[in-house]
Structures are given as C-alpha cells and as structure tokens.
Amino acid sequence: MTIEELEQIAKNVKQENEKYDYEINVCMDLACASQGADKLKDALVKAAETGARKVLVRRTGCMGPCSHGPLVRVDPEDRLYRRVNASHAEAILKSLGSAPVPELQSNLHEHFDKQVRVVLENAGYIDPEKIDDYIARDGYKALLTVLTEMTPNGVVHRITESGLRGRGGGGYPTGLKWGTVAKAAGNLKYVVCNGDEGDPGAFMDRSVMEGDPHRVIEGMAIAAYAVGASKGFIYVRAEYPVAVSRLTTALREARRHGLLGNNICNTPFNFDVEIRLGAGAFVCGEETALIASIEGRRGTPKPRPPYPASSGLWGKPTLINNVETYANIAPIVRNGGKWFFNMGSERSKGTKVFALTGKIANTGLVEVPMGIKLREIIEEIGGGVPDGHTFKAVQTGGPSGGCIPADMLDVGVSYDALLKMGSIMGSGGMIVMDDTSCMVNVARFFIEFCMTESCGKCIPCRAGTAQMFTLLSRICDGTGTMDDLALLEDLCSTVKEASLCGLGQTAPNPVLSTLKYFRNEYIEHIVNKRCRAGVCNMQAAESDIQSEVVA
C-alpha cells in the first residue's frame, strides 16, 4: 500500500457515495442497539429499496447522546432524528428533500455546540467494519506519512510537542513515555493498547474500539514505528464482545490492505497486532498486572521500577497506552503538534472524551476541550438534572476518583484541577448524582468494588478495603459510631500510603472526597440515624444482617 493507492481508495469511496442522493446513518452502538436499532436499520434498508431516490443506509458507531436513541442522521441535510423505531422508516424516507419528520426532530444544538471532536471525529460517520470508510476520512494517511517522510525521533518529537498526556487516568506525558521506550536497549520491543476499561460507569474506550477500530490500530502502528517495536497487543475486556469482533475484523482488513504485516508501504517496517482478552479483573488496568495477564498469569501487579518502558512484556521494553491515547495519535500527526497544543488548558492539552451518565438529561459520550468548566458539561451539554431534582455531586475517575460537589462546578476540567479537588481525571467516567443519592452509600459502593477487585497481593489493600467496607456498612445501617469514623479516616491514609499499586493507593479517594465535602451526611447517619436521601435502610441496625467481613 502506498499513499497514491490510499488516495485512490478514498477517491473511489467518495465517487461511490456520490451516486447516492442521501445517506441515512443509523447509530448501532450498544445503547441504541438495546433499543431496537437493528430492526430499525433493516426497515430503513427495505424502505430505501422501494423508494424512488437512491439512498445509502449505513450502520455507524456511537453518535453521542445515547439517552435520545435510537439515533438516525440524514445527510447531506444533517438532520438528527431521535427515538426512532422501525415504524418510522417510511416517514423518514418520504421526508427526504422536504420538511423533516416533526415528531422525531431533536433539539440538541446546545449539546453539540460546545463539543470539539478529535477522537470521535469519525463516530457516526463511518461503518466500523469497512476500512474504506475510514480511509475516505483520511485514515492511515498519518501512518504512511510517518513511514515515508519522518524519522522515529521526529514522531516522538511531534507527540512531545503536542503536549498529549496519557488518557488512561494517570496523565503521564505520552511523548516522554515514547521517548523512554525508544531509547531503551534491545531489538525486541512491544506496544500494548490498554482496552481493559474496568472502571464501572465508563464506556469511552468501548465506543472508540467499536465505532472506529482502525483509529486505534493506526495509532499503535505509528507508536511502534516511533519506539522500534514490531509486535503489538490490544488487551480488551471479555465483557466487550462487539469490540473484540470489530477489532478482529479491522485487523484482518488492515492486513489485507498491507497496512499491517511485513514491509508496510514498501519500507523495512514490520508490525502486527494480536488481541488478548481480559477476563474480568479491574486490577488488570494497572500496567504491570496487565502485562502479567497477557503473559497468561494471574493479574497481580509488581512493584515499579522497573517500569514496563525498560522491562515489560517478557522482560522486554514495552510501551503501554490507553485506547483514547492511541486514538489521538493520527490527528496529531496529520495536523501537527502545535494544532493539538493550542487546544485545552495550560497543562492539559487537547480534548477529553467523557461518558456522561447517571441523573442527567443527555446521557452519552461527549468530547470537550480540556479546561471546560464542569458546569458547562453538566448543565449545557448534559442538559442538567431531570425530573425536578437538584444536583448533588459528580463522580469522576471511577473507584479511584472522588465526588465533586455543586459549589466546585466552576472549576475547569484538567488533570491537576481534578487532583486538587480530591478526585482524578481517570479514564473519563462522569456520573451525576442528585438528591436521591446517599454519599455514604456511594462511598460504600466503591469500597465494596475495590474490596472484591483487590488482587490480594498486598495487605493494606486486601485487608484495608475489607475493613473500610465493614465500617462503612455499619455507618450505612445506623450502627456506626464516631469512633468508627475516626478509624475509617485513619485506615484511608494507611491504605493510600502503603498499598502496592494504583488500585489500593487510590481506593480511599471516594471515601476521602465524600468525607471532605459531605461530612455532615456521615454525621447524620451516625448521630441522627438518618439518611437524607432515603437510600440507607436504618432498620437493619436491629436485624441480624451484620456484614462483617474477615480479610
């Protein structure tokens, strides 16, 4: 495959698409599929066959505002229809070229206007199983440019210049990591894509892998060229069967087009990717545990150093980045590091994809420039809290993050600002809670999660989270004392300071942040035996359900 051949494919696809008068794009991501998008697409295809106009019906990845799904977008008119079902197919076909179908019209301008789409630029525009669709939107151009015009050092320099930081949560500068692996000694190196999105309440990586799998593969191939690797692994959760099948198809197509394999683009560069399935262990999102899992062992972390950049998979230098990080690479190479650097806030560059869920009107995927205020995300893009309830907190960073209260919503989103507020950026889950959520119960939920997901290797995490769960359970069922609260705070710092890996070190965050901002709720539970949200069942204090946990 050469650049000329790539351009020819893009040209052919465009010519092919020009034969059609209209394009009807149907979102078939998990959320829309669960509401009958499959039947809808079949009905549209059938209606399009009998109609007079030439219409292309295309399956696409996630369009964003999932709570309005199933979604359909008609191009070139750029009409977005919401809550569409199979019975609307005829009406949509009839409306082409005239007024839109009134009952399906959406008013989501505010939702889209504040978003900037880099990672999600193709979401809703391409069929994820067709490599040609991706190529027609400048896909693989960055890879071939890199291979023919840039040195590996030049690529690392461009990524460093962009200011991109790891999107998996830690925010380590990507260029710096690439540079370290590139400089590491040895001929055999690996690149790994961390698609083990274990954070409950987050699904950005799933949407990217399912909706635009080639973008991830292209990013990995560029990374491999930059660091001198010839073998890659994508580690995906087994809970995401669609992502696995889309990636498998994408890899096969990329190999068939000569974009993976030996002598890519007639250069000496060889690269191929294998998929590895996770098996439901949150700790495998931690890089050393992930390595153990790829090697076919129990996913227990190891102390660092040595970092995977010097000794990773089978002891070889290994580059591990998150799905979203790789998804940012191709646009950075195409548009230049400066372009990316100019987006975002002072120390957090570019955009971030968030999975906006919970008690909010417009749930779904949003991509916003770094530095945007939380209030803008929640009230303008998210449409605020529905059903007359009031906003209480937004949880970011999953089990490693914290809850941010209403009076801090005017802070701009960045790695440092979130850390300062006692939360973390995390992979991008953003769960909105209203007055019907009890913050003590939320803390207990996350600690229960960390307790069951603790791998058991180090004692602070294994025993600490279990004891924290017992204390929080006591507070929730009304039998807690103020001494329990003091003990809980003490345990938080022990677990945080003494745990081996990120899971344990950040496990107390949900407790610490709720204690910081919602301490009065804890005190109400203990002193007044009252849960203001009505979630905790205080009668349990007298019953025999005692949740003692022995570590």
């Binding site: 669960s34 809970e239 098996a279 439901g280 790829i294 062992r297 769960i431 959520s437």
Partner: protein
C-alpha cells in the same frame, strides 16, 4: 529439549477440537492459557476439573497456575450455568439508577443469591461489573441480550417466562 506428547482429547466431544484449535493457533505457548480457558468457557459454558487439567497439560503449565488463573478472574465460572442467565449490571451508573433494587427483587423471586442457579437449573442470576451501556442504565443482559432502562416489572415478566418453560 525432550518433546512431550500432547495429552489426548478428554472425550469424543467435538468441542475439545475447538479448544485444541485455539491452543494450536497460539503454538501451545504458555501465555495462551487465558485464551484457551476462554475457548473452553465459550464452548462448554464453564470450566471443570477435566478441562482445566487438559489445558494445563497441553500448554505445559503447572496445574496450580491454571487453577489459580481460573479462580482469579471473575469472568471464569467453575459451575455450570442454568438454561437461562439473567445478568444485572451493577456498574456505578446502574447502581445510581437502582440496580441494587433489581438484584434484590430477582433474588427474592428466584429464592437464590446472586451468582447462583435455581435448583431446577432453569435460571442463573449473575451480577456484572459494568457492561458499558451506562447511558441506558439500569441495564441487564437476558441470555446475553442487552436490555436498557430495565424495570423491575420487565425483569419479573422475563423471569416468569423462563420459569414457565
């Protein structure tokens, strides 16, 4: 290095050939352990002692390591599943939208705890750690089929249908 002959297939069951195929594709390398166990589970529905032993011997992995891996990862199950499986997602978004109430109602209706199967082998009740359909929470999987904005009424009706079979 002496070549150790691979163990014979445990039975004539054609599914063992699928398992063997996965291991062969990975060159019977030790690191294919998790992949091989995935294939066993997708073919047989669960992992039993015979299958773990067969995979371990084929890949030259100590039995302890194979059993350790099979029990470490939540996705693997050592018990045969029921005819139907209801999996309620208990991710954060689903929890905020009341998944715990769904689980409690299902436990009460089926008279079993989460992770168990009804004595007649008809229904298994599972809890997932997030299936990634958070925007339509609460979510459940009825025999693998995703159902968004799942209500208690819908769930109980589904359980009745399965029970009646």
């Amino acid at each position: 290095m002496p070549v150790i002959a691979p163990p014979p297939l445990p039975s004539d069951d054609k599914r063992w050939k699928i398992v063997n195929g996965t291991m062969r594709k990975n060159g019977f390398a030790r690191h294919a352990l998790i992949e091989a166990l995935h294939t066993v589970q997708s073919s047989f529905g669960y992992l039993d002692d015979d299958s773990i032993r067969f995979v371990a011997l084929s890949l030259h992995v100590p039995l302890s390591q194979a059993y350790g891996v099979a029990t470490f990862y939540h996705y693997f199950t050592l018990k045969p599943p029921g005819k139907h499986t209801l999996t309620v997602c208990a991710g954060t978004a689903c929890y905020i939208k009341g998944a715990d109430k769904l689980i409690a109602a299902a436990e009460k209706r089926l008279c079993i705890k989460q992770g168990q199967t009804t004595p007649d082998g008809q229904v298994s009740l599972m809890v997932a750690r997030c299936v990634g359909a958070c925007s339509r929470a609460p979510v459940a999987l009825c025999d693998g089929e995703v159902a968004g904005e799942f209500t208690e009424k819908q769930m109980l009706e589904q359980l009745e249908r399965w029970k009646a079979e």
